[in-house]
């Protein structure tokens, strides 16, 4: 089917659910794209407290306060309590719903984002502690219409089924490749002084390094193949993987 025929049907699930619920008479509060921060307060903060990219919080903050975060290269200020997690700021205050809430307890990986290039669980990160750091979410990986190579690899290798864990899987995979380039080891690395390189990264290494991201559809073969492709390896086709397993089984 030509791709342009899909476009009229390209309503998002979120839009559809919103319409459906509105039709049912339920009030919808859409996520605010930008919180209505008191501009004067935010400006005062940036002039008084932001020095050398670090925000000082040297006197106790109780209740809501303007917090300035750098997300996907953009500086955004939200008014939040100190107890609000980065995940909730992204989803509920900034409308960046690509990052998913799965378990909300650091067990599933769906909320994975990059902070200063390192993958972390945004559900276990207090937003106020991320001031002055550079946060990258799934929305920040593509360059305009050009997908990040890891995103493209997930599409080409069926790296998902329902897609809910996918933003976390992709962010984790992007970080994984950088870690390999930096020479990071894993629990299955045979010689700690000689960690694998992208070309020699084994399936066992990829699985171990992605163990912090669960996929309840169990699309793991496709996820591993996606990482293999993004690492510059030639992944086996899904059919080949199935055949091997049938023969082995």
């Amino acid at each position: 089917m030509p791709s342009d025929k899909k476009k009229p049907l390209g309503t998002s699930r979120r839009w559809f659910l919103g319409q459906a619920l509105t039709a049912a008479g339920t009030a919808i509060v859409a996520p605010k794209v930008l919180d209505n921060v008191n501009v004067a307060e935010a400006q005062q903060m940036s002039s008084n407290s932001l020095r050398d990219g670090k925000t000082e919080r040297n006197s106790p903050i109780q209740g809501e306060t303007p917090v300035t975060l750098t997300i996907n290269g953009q500086t955004q200020t939200v008014r939040i309590e100190p107890r609000v997690t980065l995940l909730d700021v992204l989803r509920e205050r900034l409308g960046l719903t690509g990052t998913k809430k799965g378990c909300d307890h650091g067990q599933c990986g769906a909320c994975t984002v990059l902070v200063d290039g390192d993958r972390v669980y945004s559900c276990l990160s207090l937003a106020i502690m991320q001031e002055g750091r550079s946060i990258t979410t799934i929305e920040g990986l593509a360059k305009g219409e050009q997908l990040h190579p890891v995103q493209a690899a997930f599409i080409e290798n069926d790296g998902f089924q329902c897609g809910y864990c996918t933003p976390g899987q992709i962010c984790a995979s992007v970080a994984l490749l950088n870690e390999v380039n930096r020479g990071c080891a894993s629990a299955v690395t045979a010689d700690l002084t000689r960690p694998p390189q992208l070309a020699t990264l084994s399936e066992a290494e990829i699985k171990e390094r992605l163990s912090g991201n669960l996929c309840r559809c169990s699309a793991y073969n496709g996820i591993v193949a996606s990482v293999q492709q993004a690492a510059g390896q030639t992944p086996p086709s899904p059919a080949a993987t199935m055949l091997v397993e049938e023969v082995a089984g």
Binding site: G106, Y121, L192, S211
Partner: protein, 331 residues
């Protein structure tokens, strides 16, 4: 999560001072365990003192030939540090076998020492728990105790310590450096964590207002043969049923020195000095390792659902010592 005030400490002195003078304040660094506990109301501080930006991240060689690890070094930074990989592979491997890369990127060394148990009864406020509410009882003792302690438990608590890193630190004779308003002091690793006794609400011997500033490792001749064997319900991202930190220093065919510590068996990382003493001077054979395993598990008291841990621990010890005697590597 209960609301709390938030403040960023400007220095270690400022942090301990604030902690001393503020009612019901807690430090936060990586937050991987604390934020989770805040969410289920296990911890309800009035103030969080953010120590994550303090200047305590350095990992540096000591003039004695060991290494000093700043309390705010992330678990990832420690596991991947060239000197630690080379001289203390046991520590690298223990860290890498724990949690996930995301958690290890966030979690700090100081915070790892202060992880609290993952006993499901502790986490679920529907149940009583002597650790959560002293004197309320321990439903794990007559309950589902498959994950629980086989060594050093008490009538009030059978929880186990969850850390892998700490099992390695116990075997490596680490020292914990602590700062308080009274000054700086050092705590030998074996005296840092506590057995539950009748005060399971206290995991460590830290006093209120103490801040961990570093972990110091002495040089050890055999550290390169140190290995970490972790057995668990799934291959990765799972707490240990049994783990073993082992190191053998061979002189020809006989054992000059040995280290042995267990995880998943007790309220604290369980170092078996008895087994280590037995091993010294013995030939490095499977029979010797078998006997050492028997000695290490001598006092084991299995519960209704964790009897399997006794044999599992013995076999793991035998395997770990064997691999270490062969020069180390992946367990």
């Amino acid at each position: 999560m209960k609301n709390f005030a938030y403040v960023r400490a400007t220095s270690t002195e400022d942090a301990v001072q604030q902690s001393q003078t503020t009612q019901n304040a807690q430090f936060i660094a990586g937050g991987t365990n604390l934020v989770d506990r805040l969410k289920v109301f296990l911890d309800r501080p009035d103030r969080l003192i953010d120590v994550s930006r303090l200047d305590l991240k350095q990992i540096e060689a000591t003039k004695e030939g060991g290494i000093r690890i700043g309390a705010l070094a992330t678990n990832t930074a420690v596991a991947d540090h060239p000197q630690i990989r080379r001289d203390y592979p046991l520590l690298s491997r223990a860290i890498l076998s724990g949690a996930s890369q995301q958690i290890r990127n966030m979690a700090t060394v100081g915070g790892n020492l202060l992880q609290r148990t993952r006993c499901p009864y502790y986490y679920d406020p529907v149940f009583a728990c002597n650790k959560r509410q002293p004197g309320s009882g321990c439903p794990a003792i007559p309950g589902i105790n498959r994950m629980h302690a086989i060594l050093g438990a008490s009538d009030s608590c059978i929880a186990v310590h969850p850390s892998d890193m700490c099992v390695a630190l116990a075997a490596l004779d680490a020292v914990v450096e602590v700062e308080s308003t009274k000054g700086r002091r050092q705590i030998p690793f074996n005296d840092f964590h506590r057995l539950p006794g009748d005060a399971p609400e206290r995991d460590t011997n830290l006093e209120p207002g103490d801040l961990i500033t570093a972990v110091i490792l002495p040089p050890v001749s055999f550290a390169k043969t140190g290995i970490y064997l972790k057995l668990r319900d799934r291959a990765s991202y799972s707490f240990a049923l049994i783990s073993v930190a082992a190191a053998i220093d061979l002189s020809g065919e006989s054992i000059r020195d040995a280290r042995l510590a267990l995880g998943g068996v007790a309220h604290k990382p369980w170092r078996s000095i008895e087994a280590e003493t037995f091993l010294k001077g013995k030939p490095a054979t499977v029979e010797t390792f078998q006997q050492a395993a028997e000695i290490a598990l001598q006092g084991a008291k299995p519960l209704d659902h964790n009897g399997f841990k006794v044999n599992m621990a013995k076999r793991a010890i035998k395997r770990a010592l064997t691999i270490s005697a062969q020069g180390g590597g992946v367990a």
